[in-house]
């Protein structure tokens, strides 16, 4: 974990009420896809946890949706302004758990934390099928980026405006992808359906209201098959067999 001031490089609208913010600053504490940063916003007591979508040696990107006052303030910020981040939080995904081919099932902004995971898997010579679900076409993010990196991308929307009409699980049924390991990130009901409908091993990135974001307040503890775990520090990624839905 590191705490530093990051300078906003860009803050662009990429979908309905959804922004990608690129920030310059130290990224040495980011080790695995699925890790997150905790953003301090002036006037708000707690930080906002956001997944790192991608990063290089001196900058990172987060994707966020304006859902409340804190994210509304973020959306009004301009390049050159700075934000204090705690960086490199959480365990992240286990890319090595996949041997040859992976299924990534994501919903909404769940596409963000699995983005670097897909890149890492492809770079390691593994096949990656990404099934993405959104409410409607206007909410879709990162679809072209996933395609550009060489992933086999399939889509589902609740209103049928993009891809299969229905849930991510409906698209998975239609595609019948081959995989030896799956990864999922998105709304809890979606991840539950994915974990319960898919045979074979996998993991999911959970979400909970957090206090500290780094494991010292025990505010976000969930029940797991191996006892109580802090979503922020022991997770957010947990193995399918460990999760109690």
């Amino acid at each position: 974990m590191e705490k530093a001031l990051y300078t906003i490089l860009s803050n662009e609208l990429i979908a309905d009420k959804t922004f990608r913010m690129r920030l310059a600053g130290p990224t040495g504490s980011l080790k695995r896809a699925g890790q997150f940063v905790d953003v301090a916003i002036d006037g708000f007591y707690l930080r906002r946890p956001l997944a790192a979508q991608e990063w290089d040696s001196d900058s990172l990107a987060v994707i966020y949706k304006v859902v409340g006052e804190g994210t509304a303030i973020m959306s009004d910020m301009a390049p050159g302004q700075s934000l204090e981040l705690l960086c490199g939080l959480g365990n992240g995904f286990d890319a090595d758990a996949c041997r040859k081919s992976a299924l990534i099932a994501c919903g909404g902004l769940g596409a963000s934390p699995v983005f670097s995971l897909a890149k890492e898997l492809l770079e390691a010579g593994k096949k990656v099928c990404v099934v993405m679900g959104f409410n409607t076409a206007a909410d879709a993010v990162l679809v072209e980026e996933f395609k550009a990196m060489g992933a086999d991308v399939h889509l589902a929307t609740m209103d049928g405006s993009l891809g299969v009409k229905g849930f991510v699980t409906d698209a998975i049924k239609a595609v019948q992808p081959e995989f030896d390991y799956f990864y999922t990130c998105g709304p809890a009901p979606m991840m539950k359906a994915v974990c319960q409908s898919l045979e074979g091993p996998g993991e999911a990135s959970l979400e909970e209201r957090m206090g500290c974001g780094c494991g010292i307040c025990y505010g976000c503890t969930c029940h797991t098959a191996s006892g109580p775990k802090r979503v922020c520090a022991d997770g957010p990624v947990f193995k399918k067999e460990d999760i109690i839905w």
Partner: protein
């Protein structure tokens, strides 16, 4: 410049202590900075048996503060003594304060007696003020007679200094503090969180699954400061001041109000490096204020 303070014969290199429940068991942060900069560490509230605590959500943001309804999640006293304390003592030489909670008189006594035998623990902090557990915790801290009963029973079973951590949620904190002093308490920690609530107006439900939770953070600082001052003027035992402390300036203010040491709580949730930064900031501020020895300001107001 002297920042060292002494509580009941226990020496603290400085008066800054992360408060119970806001800094885990210390070991969680051992990889992030040298814990030895801290005067002391008050460990996460521990009970006789392991507890999960309340269901999530158990954190809610408030103006300048946070509500929590964690509900004393902890692995139980045996794991504290066999695993957590040895792990912490490998990397930390400062003062260790074990925070003990219970659901009945016998349980308080039994748990404190076990902690009392542990060499790695310097001070016992008896929590009679947790607002998040039912049938215990705060019930003992909101009546002078019950607080005195717990104090006397724990003191009879323990040799280490015993501090009683009291609740905001009372009409007369001085009466309860005096009752603890008369029952033999070596010191007091003032104060625990203030019972509060937030509602999700879209879904029309409480944000916390437990409905209510304890308010901490900067919002409660003036209330905590007032209670520390009231008790300091009425009692003769040392006080660890706690509640909304977020800077070296707040530490000085708490000590001027009558605290001998100061606990930093919710600020650690905002910034896990807060306690360390306050320790670093303290001598700079003392210099500015012309304070040579921090002990000279205790209770001057």
């Amino acid at each position: 410049m002297v920042t060292e303070v002494n509580l009941c014969g226990v020496r603290f290199a400085n008066p800054v202590i992360p408060a119970s429940g806001t800094f885990g068991f210390g070991v969680e942060m051992a990889g992030e900075f040298d814990l030895n900069v801290l005067g002391g560490i008050s460990l996460k509230g521990t009970t006789l048996e392991a507890r999960f605590g309340n269901e999530c959500p158990r954190i809610a943001e408030t103006p300048d503060g946070v509500l929590n309804s964690v509900g004393l999640q902890n692995p139980g006293i045996d794991v504290l003594l066999s695993e957590k304390i040895p792990q912490l003592r490998k990397v930390y030489d400062g003062v260790v304060i074990a925070n003990i909670s219970g659901f009945g008189l016998e349980e308080y006594v039994k748990t404190c007696a076990l902690a009392d035998k542990c060499q790695g623990i310097d001070i016992l902090e008896v929590n009679v003020s947790c607002p998040n557990v039912h049938g215990g915790g705060m019930a003992f801290g909101t009546s002078a007679a019950a607080a005195a009963e717990v104090t006397a029973a724990v003191k009879a079973a323990c040799r280490k200094p015993v501090f009683i951590k009291l609740s905001h949620n009372v009409t007369d904190i001085v009466a309860i503090a005096k009752a603890c002093e008369e029952a033999g308490a070596d010191g007091l920690t003032l104060v625990n969180t203030l019972l509060g609530m937030r509602i999700d107006i879209n879904r029309r439900v409480p944000i916390l699954a437990n409905r209510y939770g304890g308010l901490s953070g900067r919002a409660i600082f003036p209330v905590a400061l007032r209670m520390v001052n009231q008790v300091a003027r009425a009692c003769n035992i040392p006080i660890m001041g706690c509640g909304g402390v977020s800077s070296a300036s707040d530490v000085i203010e708490m000590m001027m109000a009558g605290a001998t040491a100061v606990q930093v709580g919710a600020e650690n949730l905002k910034n896990p490096f807060a306690s360390k930064e306050i320790v670093e900031e303290l001598p700079v501020l003392m210099q500015k204020l012309g304070i040579q020895n921090i002990n000279e300001i205790i209770g001057v107001v």
